[in-house]
């Protein structure tokens, strides 16, 4: 590992405001905003695009979230290479020029990912509940859900589980009082103002409205999840026949 300070690029560009915080002895959390917003998300995307393009040699990995990016490092290696400075302080001194360099970088353009969904029936046992709860018909719920434009703010909770923003208030529904012990993989659900898709079978309290034939978790692929933070999602209603056709051909 080579621990040279990154070159400082002087420029007139704005420096993104940020604060740094330790998260345990091997990670630094960089906070870029204090509320969930597209603005904060763009900042997170700008930083992670930079980390992907120019991974610092001290970085082990990073976890992006709504308003933060957490970078992991090996404190003992840093200590040995930094002349005995406290690893966290040394890392902070490396982050400063990195954040200054960022100004000139941009987030990658969002991908648009279409996700086919077979709504209702055995795949979406709570579709009728969501409709009733909002004084709508089931078809209206499907229309509203599949006409929305969604943004993947972050991935967490389970492999490839997207935290999605942008769902219409008209189809919001509270979580179930008692969570189900098993929700099949690829189920699409609603919880409060959020919609999401379960990549693997897990327990959960979401209202289930449909299922996609597309695998979200692909452990053998180079990029092991279908979705990443920053993606835009479109849901496309499909019939049960189409669902089975997709399921057989896609996987």
């Amino acid at each position: 590992m080579n621990l040279q300070l990154p070159t400082f690029i002087a420029k007139a560009g704005e420096i993104m405001e940020y604060t740094v915080h330790p998260l345990g002895d091997n990670a630094v959390l960089i906070e870029l905003g204090n509320e969930i917003s597209e603005g904060a998300h763009q900042k997170v995307q700008t930083l992670t695009a930079f980390l992907e393009k120019h991974p610092p040699d001290w970085m082990i990995e990073y976890i992006p979230a709504y308003t933060t990016v957490t970078i992991f490092y090996n404190p003992f290696e840093i200590y040995q290479l930094s002349d005995g400075e406290l690893p966290f302080d040394f890392i902070c001194s490396l982050i400063k020029p990195l954040m200054e360099e960022l100004g000139e970088n941009k987030a990658m353009e969002a991908r648009i990912v279409e996700i086919p969904v077979c709504y209702g029936g055995e795949f979406g046992p709570d579709l009728d509940y969501v409709a009733e709860h909002n004084g709508l018909t089931s078809d209206e719920v499907i229309d509203i859900h599949s006409s929305g434009s969604y943004l993947v703010y972050m991935i967490g909770f389970a492999p490839g589980f997207p935290f999605i923003g942008g769902m219409s208030e008209q189809i919001a529904a509270p979580r179930r009082d008692t969570p189900r012990l098993k929700i099949p993989e690829r189920t699409v659900g609603i919880a409060g103002m959020q919609t999401g898709i379960y990549p693997i079978e897990t327990p959960g309290g979401w209202q289930l409205i449909g299922r996609t034939p597309v695998k979200l978790f692909r452990p053998m692929d180079e990029s092991p999840t279908l979705l990443t933070a920053g993606d835009k999602i479109k849901f496309k209603p499909i019939s049960l026949e189409e669902y089975h056709y997709w399921e057989e051909t896609d996987q």
């Binding site: 915080h21 330790p22 998260l23 345990g24 990995e61 990073y62 976890i63 404190p75 200590y79 991935i155």
Partner: protein
């Protein structure tokens, strides 16, 4: 080759974790007590990250189908070979046909069995750790079952030197222990009710004054609802001074988060990558092995240290480990 006669309560293949994939929501996994895992590997002549078998509370029964150099570190779960107790924190050369069994938990609750060459399992996403919930990695993505057969990889030169030295002393015995082991001062004291050093969590200041005091003045019991994902603790209910929605962000090994019911959860090896509950504390990395050896019913006490102290303590421990590594190398290469 090692045959599994009985699997034990939860025996799974683990290394130092699946790094690089947390941004995809893929959990790190890895050994709950990385310190013991690393030393077990060193005593078998392996690399620190080679996969070992993590054994929980009630150990398995295993038969060695060939002569094998092993080491067992971590909790003392009363290991024996053909009925004769063997020592932990030591290299042991086991003769073909011998049977390794475990008895009760004497100290701690997790033991790490390393075999020369490491257990041969495929690498999935940069790691050989078992990711139990997703059914990936390790041995067929799951904990061991009766009838499983574990293969070992190619032994290192270090393993061969150790084997050469010990095999000369085997004669007609079923196993031979090395004449040196790990000094007891290096081994974390894992006998019940440990004091765990923690730093303040990111949301520490949002908790009520009473809760902040209780965190350090009261004992917290490890409940039965504790596993590799996290320990659920029971003690005084901790509360925020006023309700505040948290924005989900990354969590780490040892993060202490508090859900609305007030009972803290310490996140461990199989933690999810992000969490939305406020974090009141963070276990210092140097004390994670102590925590991983605590079992349901044990009472934990938390002592506050600063972030600086936590990193300095970790550095000290890593220095000792580095010396130990050099010591093992010299002893082995210098004809023992």
């Amino acid at each position: 080759m090692i045959k599994v006669l009985k699997p034990g309560l939860l025996s799974s293949i683990q290394d130092l974790g699946r790094t690089g994939y947390q941004k995809f929501g893929i959990i790190a996994s890895g050994a709950m007590d990385p310190f013991s895992h690393r030393i077990a590997n060193l005593l078998a002549g392996n690399e620190e990250n080679d996969p070992s078998l993590e054994i929980t509370m009630m150990g398995p029964a295993l038969t060695f189908e060939e002569d094998t150099l092993i080491s067992i570190c971590g909790g003392d779960l009363s290991p024996s070979i053909n009925g004769k107790p063997i020592r932990t924190w030591r290299s042991v050369f086991v003769k073909k046909g011998s049977e390794l069994k475990f008895g009760g938990c004497q100290k701690g609750c997790r033991a790490y069995l390393a075999a020369a060459g490491g257990f041969a399992v495929p690498e999935v996403m940069n790691s050989k750790s078992t990711y139990l919930r997703a059914g990936l990695g390790g041995y067929k993505g799951r904990a061991l079952k009766s009838g499983d057969v574990l293969e070992t990889g190619k032994p290192s030169l270090q393993s061969l030197k150790m084997t050469e030295y010990l095999s000369k002393q085997l004669l007609d015995k079923t196993f031979v222990e090395n004449d040196w082991g790990i000094a007891s001062k290096l081994i974390p004291e894992t006998a019940g009710n440990p004091e765990i050093r923690i730093t303040r969590g990111r949301q520490f200041d949002l908790f009520s004054r009473e809760s902040r005091e209780q965190l350090f003045n009261h004992a917290f019991e490890v409940t039965a609802q504790s596993d590799r994902m996290g320990y659920r603790l029971k003690g005084p209910a901790l509360a925020l001074s006023e309700h505040a929605e948290q924005i989900s962000e990354a969590v780490n090994f040892g993060s202490i988060q508090v859900p609305p019911d007030g009972n803290p959860i310490v996140l461990l090896a199989d933690r999810q990558t992000t969490g939305g509950y406020p974090k009141i504390g963070q276990v210092a990395a140097v004390d994670l092995p102590l925590l991983a050896q605590a079992k349901p019913g044990d009472a934990l006490r938390f002592a506050e240290i600063s972030n600086e102290q936590a990193q300095q303590l970790l550095i000290k421990r890593e220095m000792k480990l580095k010396e130990l590594k050099q010591g093992i190398f010299l002893k082995t290469r210098g004809g023992n």
